[in-house]
């Protein structure tokens, strides 16, 4: 019975198995940045196909995980779809499949639904903001440059201070050596003149 149910769920939701392009179209229009399916999916070309991270390449165990994720209509802490990346899975886990399908008609509301709490790449910019700005929520080196700079400056304050001190001390040492050389040269020149 369980197997029949799983098969029914797979049959019901595997077709169509395409990504929700509404979100991609919205992000591109809103941010002005080109984005692709890799924003939420494992493959940059979306879930359909037989490439790595696409439905056609999944083995038995991965299909099982995919079906469980597809059955997650309500928010569920355990979503691990092999065709979604960490960000995609986190969206399904937080909102549930039903809410995501509803949001297809108003993709701009997804950011508000996700809230500011999650920052999967720990770059200081919430995932919801990265979604709106068209930057990758899983790339630590990718985001609004000014936000990244201020976040990293705060995080590396100690290193910055130490770097400043090291630079000043090194400069002081080198300049002292140069002054010493200059004095020696002058002394030698004076001695030659005398």
């Amino acid at each position: 019975m369980n197997a029949v149910l799983r098969l029914a769920i797979f049959g019901l939701f595997a077709v169509p198995g395409s990504a929700h392009h509404e979100f991609q179209v919205f992000v591109q229009a809103h941010s002005g940045r080109p984005v692709n399916c890799a924003l939420c999916h494992t493959s940059a070309d979306g879930p359909e196909g037989s490439g790595p991270g696409q439905i056609g390449s999944l083995d038995e165990a991965e299909r099982e995980r995919l079906n469980r994720a597809r059955a997650a209509f309500d928010p569920s802490p355990v979503v691990d779809s092999p065709i979604l990346n960490e960000f995609g899975n986190s969206i399904v886990a937080r909102l549930g499949k039903r809410r995501i399908l509803e949001l297809r008609s108003k993709p701009e509301a997804l950011a508000a639904e996700l809230g500011d709490a999650s920052d999967l790449d720990s770059d200081g910019i919430p995932d919801s903001r990265e979604y709106l700005e068209g930057t990758h929520p899983l790339m630590r080196h990718h985001g609004d440059p000014w936000s990244l700079f201020t976040h990293e400056l705060r995080a590396n304050a100690f290193h910055v201070v130490m770097l400043g001190l090291a630079t000043i001390v090194t400069l002081y040492g080198l300049i002292s050596i140069l002054r010493g050389f200059a004095l020696r040269l002058r002394a030698r020149a004076d001695a030659t003149e005398n």
Binding site: R33, P34, G134, M139, H142, L148, L153, N156, L163, I175
Partner: protein, 371 residues
């Protein structure tokens, strides 16, 4: 009159003797007696040293990157990711390499404009100028070849466009010369499409050929600077000076220190990749279509946007003329006043800044969409 009657061989010998006054190659002349003019343009004397400093940063960080970078199409992108994500201090070193390369090119451009405005190419400093222009071209070559090495979408697609542009020059050349650009493109590319051979060749050019050319050109450049000293730079007959050693050297060193601190902090806190759209940072997919947003590095915008807006032949003709004029500046502008040269340099700098900062907006305004 006497110059006209002088035999050619003698004139050549005099030219060489005047450009290479080897009697000046002693510590007394190069250190103790050397003076640096002081005037409103004195800040420009630090630009050459600053460019040299950024080159040194490039060499050190580049050597460190070589320990991990794999120049193969299968591993290049992954090795760059490994450097950024897993190697201790790797992200900082890679960012330092990327930021200091941009800083070096910016400094070289400012150095070029200011020395032109100050007429620093006037006799007997022609070779300083010619070797300097050669160095500027080499620096752009470093930028072009280094761009491909991470082997991501933007790198490969932008390189393809660049190589196609080289080949397209052939259609405007007469006779047998029409095949030369194709030969150059094939030689650099190494195979019918941009692939492993291209990556290997770009890598070899980036880490072997260009560094060797840099050593040669920089050797001539620095030797000329030592032999002839700093140019006066202004029209005033009486110019205050300061001792090169230790006063100017100490100031120069302080500028290096500030530059190091600034570029090191920027490299620590601001990933260079953050300015690129994220799909372009993915590994190159040979079966995929060319993604949106493909552009060269910012320092090529001054030629990239005109290429997008104007007929190809017009941009190539203008570029050839400007490049020729740059190399021959000591002879073309031998009698031009510093005031005129300053005006030309300001106009060129304005053009460069406008194209770099507003090129995209200008394109949008004229063509109604991104390039």
């Amino acid at each position: 009159m006497s110059t006209i009657l002088e035999p050619r061989s003698r004139r050549l010998a005099r030219f060489v003797r005047e450009r290479f006054p080897l009697e000046n190659l002693d510590p007394k002349h190069m250190i103790e007696k050397k003076e640096v003019p002081r005037h409103r343009m004195s800040w420009a004397y630090y630009m050459g040293g600053l460019a040299l400093f950024f080159l040194l940063v490039q060499i050190v960080t580049g050597l460190l990157l070589l320990f991990y970078y794999q120049p193969t199409v299968s591993d290049a992108h992954a090795s760059v990711e490994t450097i950024s994500e897993y190697v201790s201090g790797g992200a900082w070193i890679r960012n330092l390499h990327a930021w200091s390369s941009s800083a070096m090119i910016a400094t070289v451009i400012v150095h070029l404009f200011t020395t032109f405005a100050m007429k620093a190419f006037a006799a007997p400093r022609e070779l300083t100028w010619v070797s300097g222009v050669s160095l500027a071209l080499i620096v752009f070559g470093f930028g072009f070849t280094g761009y491909l090495l991470p082997w991501n979408q933007i790198a490969v697609n932008a390189t393809k466009v660049g190589l196609q542009s080289v080949e397209a020059v052939g259609q405007y050349l007469p006779g047998e010369m029409a095949h030369w650009p194709t030969f150059v493109r094939e030689t650099i590319q190494g195979e019918p499409s941009v692939g492993q051979a291209t990556l290997s060749r770009f890598f070899a050019i980036h880490v072997i050929v260009l560094p060797l050319l840099t050593i040669a050109a920089l050797g001539v450049h620095l030797m000329q600077v030592q032999l002839h000293g700093m140019s006066r730079g202004v029209d005033a007959l009486k110019v205050k000076t300061e001792k090169f050693f230790p006063f100017f050297v100490i100031k120069d060193l302080s500028v290096w220190g500030v530059a190091f601190f600034v570029v090191a902090v920027v490299a620590m806190c601001l990933p260079f990749d953050s300015f690129l759209p994220f799909p372009l940072l993915e590994p190159y997919n040979p079966l995929g279509s060319t993604p949106d947003g493909i552009k060269p590095e910012w320092y090529f915008f001054f030629v990239y946007y005109p290429l997008e807006l104007l007929p190809y032949w017009a941009v190539i003709a203008a570029s050839t003329l400007v490049l020729g004029a740059l190399f021959l500046a000591p002879w073309i502008f031998a009698r031009t006043t510093r005031r005129t040269l300053s005006a030309l340099a300001i106009a060129a700098a304005l053009y460069f800044v406008v194209m770099t900062v507003f090129g995209h907006a200008i394109y949008d305004a004229l063509k109604g969409g991104p390039p």
